[in-house]
Symmetry: C2
Subunit: 301 residues, 2 copies
């Protein structure tokens, strides 16, 4: 099975109470890919500018991350983001953001990737998400993320995107904004009416909720005291989730729940260091050990 992710690739400056990282690799596609690669190869589709440093490209180089879909656009500049977390890390300010190439035309899916079976669309303009879907040849599952900006300004387009995907991954605030429902199960069911077969609602430290037509599940987050930089946690959660589904080659409710567990474990590692440093260094044995520990942390019959 083949997995493809499209999304932002950025150069980040991140400040947390535990330190500062300057000009490090960031963005949805990156954080997703380095979680998904724990389960198999992943095709990365995204655009950077000609200013993209070779050192950051080196950081993205990995046996399991296929960069044939990474476009380096002449005359354009890479997306940049500078964020600063509060003392308790529960809130963050955007010090500056330069959309640069992200405000231009979106990426194209290379013809050799059009057969991808599992596809994740990062939170870009919903019309672009539809354009990307149109470039695919009969995927088994397309999952989309979205964000407050598109919910507020592109609702019509977003509803069309929702009508063309099999699953949605978004955070609790976005689910409530999209549906005007407070109760997350009610919100999830309201999103299902647009067309997706499942909705995964991310709740940060509180884990995630799965809503399908006939199943609701709650997956707690792995509880860690070691949080250095939460940036990208949600994207690495999605990467672990989609990586697991791709390897399994199915996405029924039981497999989705198991995949959400892998997503929360991947995210629990990501947040232990800046950028993808921890995920890059992660061994299979470390992942498996924490997975085992996770199942001592949740109730069983």
């Amino acid at each position: 099975m083949s997995l493809l992710v499209t999304g932002s690739i950025g150069i980040d400056i991140v400040e947390t109470p535990h330190g500062r990282a300057d000009d490090v690799l960031g963005g949805t596609a990156v954080n997703f890919a380095f979680a998904a690669r724990l389960f198999g190869p992943v095709r990365l589709v995204g655009v950077v500018g000609e200013d993209f440093p070779p050192a950051l490209r080196d950081r993205m180089t990995d046996d399991r991350v296929d960069l044939a879909g990474l476009e380096v656009r002449r005359g354009s500049k890479t997306f940049r983001w500078h964020g600063r977390y509060s003392e308790d890390m529960n809130t963050r300010d955007t010090v500056s953001v330069q959309l640069n190439v992200l405000a231009e035309a979106g990426p194209k899916i290379p013809p050799a990737y059009a057969d991808s079976r599992y596809v994740f669309l990062g939170a870009t303009h919903p019309a672009l998400q539809q354009d990307l879907i149109s470039q695919l040849k009969g995927p088994a599952l397309v999952v989309a993320d979205t964000m407050d900006l598109w919910i507020e300004t592109q609702r019509g387009e977003l509803e069309r995107t929702l009508g063309r995907v099999g699953g949605v991954v978004l955070n609790d605030g976005e689910a409530r904004m999209l549906t005007d429902e407070t109760n997350l199960v009610t919100a999830g069911k309201a999103i299902l009416k647009y067309g997706p077969k499942f909705v995964v609602i991310k709740k940060g430290e509180h884990g995630a909720v799965l809503v399908t037509r006939d199943r609701v599940a709650a997956v707690p987050a792995y509880y860690s005291e070691n949080v250095k930089d939460p940036t990208g946690a949600g994207d690495s959660f999605a990467g672990g989730l989609m990586g697991y589904l791709t390897r399994a080659g199915k996405h029924d409710a039981d497999t989705l729940i198991a995949a959400m567990v892998r997503g929360t474990i991947a995210a629990s590692f990501l947040i232990e260091d800046f950028s993808i440093n921890r995920l890059r260094a992660l061994t299979q044995a470390e992942f498996d050990r924490r997975l085992g520990e996770y199942f001592t942390m949740v109730p069983r019959p």
Copy 2:
């Protein structure tokens, strides 16, 4: 095994988007007891005024709820509370509160109850909690709740209480306030330093976290779309938890996790109607069915 609860007994007015209930039975001891009774008998210790209506006493009458510790104090008035929930039920205003008898001397534990093995102390003045502990003869486990008022104004007394109990049940905001820690596991471990062997941190719709010296667990809440009145959810959670522990006759980590699950199921019923209406009407078969459903909602290895 015998279970005793001390805490408030009140006459409530509750307004939610789903309706209004006037002069209904409320208070920690009541909500706790009608959850705990699902697992066995419970001894209720609390004080009401001579204005306490016979009709409300009738509502408290139950084969499994022992009211020998219910004091009707001459010349005093019963605690009254009037609350109003916001449209999304995530916040509530206290329209009025009359402490009345709760501002006077606390209840006494009847001599026949001094042998209680499992004891839950509702969130009263920590000096009163210590006085109640002193009236017990070698309990197996005393668990205390507390609240923001005592954390802010009676920290010394509260720390003394924490040094004399085996467990603490409190909500996430209180745990953070008590310890100045944002991370709930770090907060839980900080509370353990005062003496308790375990801390259960309640997170409302996000479930609860258990912290012991060598174990952390996350118990998601049962996800319900049917929420009519959240008042007393935390107390019924504690009641289900303590009821289960009492019946089990032990409180190791695995038993605590199982008990937290029973607590969340009890709370999920309580919130489906005003006061203890739903818990009073609940059958064992209904409880067992939802418990089975719960285990389809959480991840398994």
